[in-house]
Each structure stands twice: as structure tokens, then as C-alpha cells.
Amino acid sequence: ALSDKLESVFKKLRGQGVMTEDNIKEALREVRLALLEADVNFKVVKDFVERVREKAVGTLVLQSLSPGQQVVKIVHDELVALMGGDEDNSLDLAAKPPVSIMMVGLQGAGKTTSCGKLARYLKSQRRKPLLVPADVYRPAAIEQLKTLGRQLSMEVFDSQADQKPVDICSKALKYAELSGFDTVIFDTAGRHQIDDYLMDELVHIREAVEPREILFVADAMTGQEAVNVATGFNDRLGITGVVLTKLDGDAKGGAALSIKAVTGKPVKFVGLGEKLDALEVFHADRLVSRILG
């Protein structure tokens, strides 16, 4: 773990009073390595290590902590601050119902499953969500969401694969208004941020349903490209938050740091399993401990 590596780096610092450029150089190298090994993006790591350096240099070596522990504390606190600390990352549902939520992201990230999980979560919060399958491309995608709806005893809009996604979404929103649903969750097809036609489709859907939340669903095992993908979705469409999936594996999840660093948008939920009850509200300190582990 990083704390152990920093302990040994700082054995030589024992007895010295102040952290200097020189004596923390090696420590910062260890911090950089730890973050790169956690799949945090190269440029994000560079900026972050620079911030740690600024915070550390000139600080007195405290009596209560070893220098290694002190650097770990600075790194830990800076990472938590980067991830939004204890800023409000709750869902924004403060609008006249029905409130729309769009789920977007790369192929296979976990959008459809997360739609089901979110519907279950909202139901537990006494809300009445409508699930809308708007992926007409992937074989049996509509059937997949309908199956999840059946498992939850929740209604799924009856989309057909020969319809246009924008039309499905407009019709579904009208249906939700007429039938008393207070939330609408739109499942969209996975797509690359460089696919202009499909990114335009998302913009058209956004214009049609005016969502309160556009959640970018990202796989926790994503590597360096998380930056380009998240930037692409955010610049083109504007995301309001992130769902980080498959955190029940052993991926460090550094992609979450990268995504927050470049978009500024908070992680709102984490997926912790394949079942529909495996969704939790995001806690920054838990992810940070996992990355520094």
C-alpha cells in the first residue's frame, strides 16, 4: 500500500524538521506510481501530484505523525477534495413531475442494469418511476429492460425496435405525464463519444425530454481513455453526474478520479453487483481508500 511505501521512503527523513522539495521528491514519485497503477489518467496524475507537492513543501513535520503518514494524509485529503468531499451528490429531482433521467455511456458499461437498479432505488424513496427502453440497436435490449421491469414489478414503456429513439422518448414522456409517473428513466444505447450520429441522437433526446439528470455510466475498470470519453460526453451533451459500475471487482477505480477531474461532475452512485439491489450512493472516502489501498 502507498502508506507502507511512503513509510520506507521517509525513514531517512526522521529527525528533519521541514518537508523540502528535495526530501519529498521520492515520496511524490511513489504517489505518482500508486495513482498510475490505479489507472488514474497520466495528465490528471501530473496535476494532482503537483498540488500535493505545493501542499507538502514547507509544512512542518508534525510531532504526532511520521512524515510518511503526513504525506499520506495530504494525498488522502486532496483526493477526497478532488472527488467532491462531502458536497451534495444526491439526485436532482427538484422539478415539476415527471422528472426525466437519461442514462448514457459506452457499450457494455452497465446502463440498462443501472436503470433497473435506479428504478428500484427510487421506488424505495416512494417515487413512481417509468422505465423507458430507447436502445433500438442492440439485439434484445428492449426485452432486457422489460425483463428487469418484470423482476421489479415496475412498468416499462412498450418501445419497439423499429421506432426512432427520439420518438420513443417523446411518446414515453407524454405517457408518463398522463399516467401519473413522477420520474422517467431513459435507457439509451451504448455509443462511442466520437460517433457523431449517435451523439447527435442523444442531443435530440435531451432536447425532447429536458432531463434533470444525465448520468454518465462508467465501468470501474476503465483505463486512461476515461478522460477522453467523459470529456466527449460532457462537452457534446452535458452530463450531470456519474454512475461507476462493477466496483464489486478488484479494479482500483482510478477512472472515477479522472472523470471527476476533467468534467467536475460528481459520482452519484456506484454499482456493486449484478443484482438489482446492488446500487449505493457514492462515498468519496471509500473510493479513496480503495485507490490508496
Binding site: 497503477e37 489507472d39 432486457q144 465501468d219 483505463g223 486512461q224 477522453n228 462493477k246 482500483k252 449484478e274
Partner: protein, 277 residues
């Protein structure tokens, strides 16, 4: 002389950034950069261009060493088991492989071995219709080993050339799911001696260093014999395949370059390396 040293250091830093951002991983990047540094010390390399060329050659050599084509004529029915973590593209890749073998006039059978995920069997059935391959499936919640068993029996009885067995996505850290996969393998082995003749681990090109952990545990549990790298039509470079291929001696059989039935290509080490640089 000092000037050259500084230029070399700058070039190495640039190359390090290229390698890391291509998802080569810290370990592989450090190894490759060290190799270049040693060659620099021995005055084997001239300028920045020579450094880059040497690096590209080193990477494509590593990939070429392990490279080998999949020969499905080696057995009949030739049984291919497809495994990997959730959402990487197993089912879609099976559809593409089936199409390729159908185009070659082969009789292909598909097994819907994912009995857990919503509409998994339906997804594979649509692929079967698209490519002209029959699909063996059970109800959702059935025992995946039972599906594998029936599919093996059917592949022999129907005189199929190829049997492709789909499995549910599973995280390599879930012991019970890895045990389930081992059981599927045992059932296949018992039913058709020598099978599965190929066990393909599917990796998503956007995956970071977790791919190494995936490959390690999947290889140990299921004797993986080949890799598929998907979603290379995105912006991810798939650099993790270099470490995985090298460390576990696994050839990359195919790459996925899209969601359509034709979007499967043979893996070309040189093209792959060129795309990174």
C-alpha cells in the same frame, strides 16, 4: 554529449506518456523504457526517431512472438468456450465468429450458456437468426452446465463443424462464479474428449491494468488459449493486451471493431503498434 543526454531524456519522457496513455500499464512501460535506456547506454540508438522505432519494434516483437491463428479444422465439432467479465462483448463476438464460419460454409451451433442475465438467451437467438446458426438454450435461471451438456450432445448429433458456447459475464474475483465456469468446462470435457478446443478470453480495449488480474484468474481457472480484444473502433488503444499476451503467452485471435456482424478482424501486431504511436 550532455545535449544528447538531455534530448534522450526528453524523448523517453514523451514515449513514457504515450505508453501509459495507451494503457500499456506501469509495469510494462517501466520495462520497455529500461530496455531503451540500456540500449542508449550501449550507444546503440541515435536520435529520437531511432528511439521511437526501437520501441515500436520491441512491442511488435513481443506480440509477434505469441501470435498464432486459430485453426478450427483441428477437430469436429470444434468447440469454442467464450468467457470474460461483464459487458466486454462475448455474445456479440460469438455472433461475429459464427457469421465468419457460416460464410466459410461451416455448420455452426450456438449455446446460450448465460442463463442468468436478463434477455441473454434472446440476444444470442437474434444473432443465431442473423447468421444462420441454431441456438441451444434453456429457460432463464437454468443450470449453465446443463445447457453446455445439451449443446455438446446436439453438436455431435447434428454433425456440426463448430460449437460456440456463450457464458455469463463474471468478475474474476467471484469464487462461486469461477467455480461455475470450471464446472461448465468439466461437463464439456466429459461430453466431447479434448473439448473445449479453444477457450477465448474476451477483453475490452478500454480496460486498464485490471486486465492483468482478469487474465491471471481466468487462465488459472479455465486454461484460456486465446484472446479477443473488442471495441477497438473507439478511442482506446488496448495497450493492456501487450502485457496480457506477453505475460500469459496468449495469442490475440481477433479484434472487434464495431457492433455489426462483419466487425471482426484478424489481429495484426504491426498495425496495432502503429495505431498507438
Amino acid at each position: 554529449l550532455l545535449g544528447k543526454k538531455q534530448i534522450d531524456a526528453d524523448v523517453l519522457e514523451e514515449l513514457e506518456e504515450i505508453l501509459i496513455t495507451a494503457d500499456m500499464g506501469v509495469k510494462t512501460t517501466v520495462e520497455l523504457i529500461r530496455t531503451l535506456e540500456q540500449r542508449l547506454k550501449r550507444n546503440e540508438l541515435g536520435d529520437g526517431e531511432a528511439l521511437k522505432a526501437a520501441l515500436k519494434q520491441e512491442i511488435s516483437d513481443r506480440l509477434a512472438q505469441v501470435n498464432s491463428d486459430l485453426d478450427v479444422s483441428a477437430a469436429k465439432p470444434f468447440v469454442i468456450l467464450v468467457i470474460g467479465v461483464n459487458g466486454v462483448g462475448k455474445t456479440t463476438t460469438i455472433g461475429k465468429l459464427a457469421a465468419q464460419y457460416r460464410r466459410a460454409g461451416k455448420k455452426v451451433l450456438l449455446a446460450a450458456g448465460d442463463t442468468f442475465r436478463a434477455a441473454a438467451a434472446e440476444q444470442l437467438e437474434i444473432w443465431g437468426e442473423r447468421v444462420g446458426a441454431e441456438v441451444v438454450r434453456h429457460k432463464e435461471g437454468a443450470d449453465p452446465s446443463a445447457v453446455a451438456f445439451d449443446a455438446c450432445k446436439a453438436a455431435v448429433a447434428r454433425d456440426c463443424d463448430i460449437l460456440l458456447i456463450d457464458t455469463a459475464g463474471r468478475l474474476h474475483t467471484k469464487v462461486n462464479l469461477m467455480e461455475e465456469m470450471k464446472k461448465i468446462r468439466r461437463v464439456i470435457e466429459r461430453e466431447i474428449p479434448g473439448a473445449p478446443h479453444e477457450t477465448l478470453l474476451v477483453l475490452d480495449a478500454a480496460t486498464g491494468q485490471n486486465a492483468v488480474s482478469q487474465a491471471s484468474l481466468f487462465k488459472e481457472a479455465a486454461q484460456v488459449t486465446g484472446l479477443i480484444l473488442t471495441k477497438l473502433d473507439g478511442t482506446a488503444k488496448g495497450g493492456i493486451v501487450v502485457a496480457v499476451s506477453h505475460e500469459f503467452s496468449l495469442p490475440v485471435r481477433y479484434i472487434g471493431v464495431g457492433e455489426g456482424v462483419e466487425d471482426l478482424r484478424r489481429f495484426e501486431p504491426q498495425q496495432f503498434v502503429d495505431a498507438i504511436f
